[in-house]
């Protein structure tokens, strides 16, 4: 019986053809805008999608291409398109199939950028969204309308860390002939390959755990290749002739890669949110160690969950690995290696104590990012959500004492020692 290459091997090798001229072992950085055509026939073939190849780096680039094929391989997708950021990936993926008059059903518990895109920006283009509590699976079915063309959610929701019941949501999508798109940033394909549970498209901020070092912004759209676009007339951008490429029918010509090809042919060409080759190189370096880093993120997370859960200055701890979390059973099903390395917890003493904790840790970095190799903390009530009153914070799932922690790869004893400084300061505030 034959078998395929495994995750760690693909993380190191997938997509790369060793440089034939100099034998460079690392993926070269092709820092070029454009490519010399050997003849006019080859040039016209590339422009007409008769053959693969590179014409202009806004649309494709060899370094970015290696990253795309590596991500597609790790996800089990038929194709990937990398973009300048995760939000660019989300926008490109949505607008590849939705336009004026179309509708999305999306989770309420998502990254603020995703919420804002659907709540504020997409309506300007005639695309509306009904938001549904991610734990209310039946609510997703009930929210489907005749003009619904997408179900969207995060497997590990932000900020509550609720886990989407992906198989159930995918069944709703299949029953309704609506694709299911998952923001898989928090899980990465190492923790869960969403296509195995019926998702049709994933989007990533590869800035986070995939890259893992906080050095490059980037995004990716991965085509699961498992949605039958031709089974309905809802998706003309995939199944009808596309004029700019001589009326090509992407579904007929590219089958399981038709969705990704649409993004390449339209969004990357007409909008141009392309990833730089340098960023692709940096992100490839990160992905080479994805599983090693994730294992360490997860082991540190489990130790810190124990530490925080028993700490006298901590009022509550939230993580799907904890039995008390409402998504604990779903986490065991979809994320058996671990439910990610974001922890939220409450510091006794409220807003002032939370602020004091943040201001008195030194090893942990106070910033608005997650998924770095380094431990990161932020106090939403005094930063990202500082202009929101207490009631509105509760509605957003954020409490005044809440600290969001992105667990890094440091020696966990040093993280705990650093946190002790923060907790001592918080205790002084709460007593004072």
């Amino acid at each position: 019986m034959s078998r395929f290459l495994n995750f760690d091997t693909l993380s190191l090798h997938a997509g790369q053809v060793v440089d034939p001229e100099f034998g460079a072992r690392a993926t070269p950085i092709y820092q070029t805008t454009s490519y010399v055509f050997p003849d006019t026939d080859t040039a016209s073939s590339i422009f007409n999608l008769e053959r693969g190849g590179h014409a202009y780096s806004r649309i494709t680039n060899p370094t970015v291409g290696v990253l795309e094929q590596r991500i597609a391989a790790l996800e089990g997708g038929s194709a990937a398109v990398c973009t300048a950021s995760g939000m660019a990936a989300t926008f490109c993926a949505i607008t590849a199939i939705l336009g004026q008059g179309d509708h999305i059903v999306a989770s309420t518990q998502m990254y603020g950028g995703n919420i804002s895109l659907m709540k504020n920006t997409l309506p300007r283009f005639g695309i509306t969204t009904t938001f549904v509590d991610p734990t209310d699976t039946d609510g997703f079915r009930a929210a489907i309308q005749d003009n619904t063309k997408l179900i969207y959610g995060e497997l590990i929701g932000n900020p509550g860390l609720d886990i989407l019941d992906l198989e159930a949501i995918a069944r709703i999508g299949a029953d309704s002939q609506v694709p299911v798109m998952i923001d898989a940033t928090f899980n990465t394909p190492y923790l869960c390959r969403c296509f195995d549970y019926g998702a049709n498209v994933t989007v990533h901020s590869v800035t986070k755990w995939m890259g893992g070092h906080g050095t490059a912004i980037g995004g990716a759209v991965v085509d699961g290749g498992n949605f039958d676009w031709g089974a309905t007339d809802k998706f003309p951008t995939i199944t009808e002739p596309y004029a700019p490429f001589s009326g090509i029918n992407l579904w007929e010509e590219f089958g399981p890669s038709a969705f990704a090809t649409r993004i390449r042919a339209e969004a990357m060409r007409d909008i141009g949110p392309s990833m730089s080759p340098m960023n692709a190189f940096l992100l490839l370096q990160g992905i080479e160690t994805l599983s090693l880093r994730m294992d360490k993120h997860l082991s540190n997370t489990m130790i810190l969950l124990d530490y925080l859960s028993s700490h006298e200055q901590v009022s509550w701890v939230n993580h799907p690995s904890l039995p008390a979390h409402s998504s604990h059973e779903l986490a065991k099903k979809y994320l058996p290696k671990g439910a990610g390395s974001i922890i939220s917890f409450g510091v006794k003493g409220g807003r002032a104590a939370g602020k004091a904790f943040i201001e008195n840790v030194e090893l942990a970095s106070h910033l608005a990012n997650v998924g770095d190799a380094k431990t990161l903390v932020i106090h939403p009530a005094t930063t990202t959500h500082s202009r929101i009153d207490a009631d509105a914070l509760v509605a957003a799932g954020i409490t005044e004492d809440m600290v969001r922690l992105s667990v890094g790869l440091e020696d966990v004893a040093d993280i705990k020692a650093d946190f002790e400084n923060g907790f001592r300061a918080a205790k002084r505030i709460s007593k004072g």
Partner: protein
């Protein structure tokens, strides 16, 4: 495009141009469990160079109505029905793997409209091992793993590919997952049962091309050599680094070889 053959819907991509039977025709035949998309880096090329193109889905595959046909002979008869339905003349047949057996049988029995035949990665016969036959019937996912594991060479296994961002291995798996439950076992049994290769090859007249993959683990070199021996003066081309899935793994070399052969033997002017 869709058209009816014997009361069943048949799908073929025409490469992005309307099918015009007055032009020289290139018909592409896929292998077991696959579909027309295996040819997407060849079919569009010929369509935009004044050929009428049909990259077919065999019955019971992807967009063509089932049931799947049970023998290579029946598939050759079906191909003749397709040709008559679309009124194709001056045909260049391009076939991969199982498609080659169909092409062999068709060319021996229906030579009138043929101008050339290109066999890619095939032998004179295609015996299928018992494990794969059993898996195709009882565990399609295992059968797909075997076929893609053997079918793709090193580049495919590394998810490399000529289209930036695309994984030909994963895309192939998606196509096969769609087709395997309904047609893979029938395809493989048809290949395994086909015994008419030698007399059929002896009957094939006209221009014939054989493209051999140097790292083919599904069509053993000995079987390919037998095909070459029994054909009359074939044009033989070796692509050393390719695995079995030549049209996807090395599309540029494959297309260049097809272009030279078909342009010469079935010109558009």
């Amino acid at each position: 495009m869709y058209f009816a053959v014997n009361g069943k819907q048949v799908f073929a991509t025409t490469g992005g141009k309307p099918f015009d039977s007055s032009k020289p025709v290139v018909i592409f035949l896929h292998g077991s469990g696959f579909d027309h998309t295996v040819w997407n880096l060849q079919s569009r090329f010929f369509a935009f160079r004044d050929y009428a193109v049909l990259a077919l889905d065999l019955p019971g595959h992807t967009n063509s109505e089932g049931p799947p046909l049970q023998s290579i002979e029946a598939m050759a008869d079906w191909l003749n029905d397709v040709v008559e339905t679309v009124d194709a003349q001056n045909i260049s047949l391009v076939a991969h793997s199982q498609g080659c057996l169909i092409a062999l049988e068709y060319a021996s029995r229906y030579p009138e409209r043929l101008r050339s035949v290109s066999f890619i990665a095939s032998g004179l016969a295609t015996p299928v091992n018992e494990f794969l036959l059993n898996a195709a019937e009882n565990d399609p996912e295992a059968a797909i793993a075997m076929m893609l594991g053997w079918g793709f060479g090193p580049a495919g296994q590394m998810h490399q590919g000529p289209i930036p961002g695309n994984s030909m291995l994963s895309a192939g798996r998606k196509v096969m997952r769609g087709n395997a439950p309904k047609s893979l076992a029938a395809d493989l049994h048809a290949c395994n049962d086909y015994q008419n290769g030698k007399p059929a090859a002896a009957n094939v007249a006209g221009s014939v091309q054989v493209i051999v993959a140097g790292k083919d683990r599904m069509a053993p070199r000995q079987a390919t050599n037998e095909l070459i021996e029994h054909l009359h003066g074939p044009n033989v081309n070796l692509i050393p680094e390719s695995g079995h899935l030549v049209p996807q793994e090395v599309p540029d070399q494959c297309r260049a070889l097809l272009k030279a052969f078909i342009f010469s033997n079935n010109p558009t002017t």
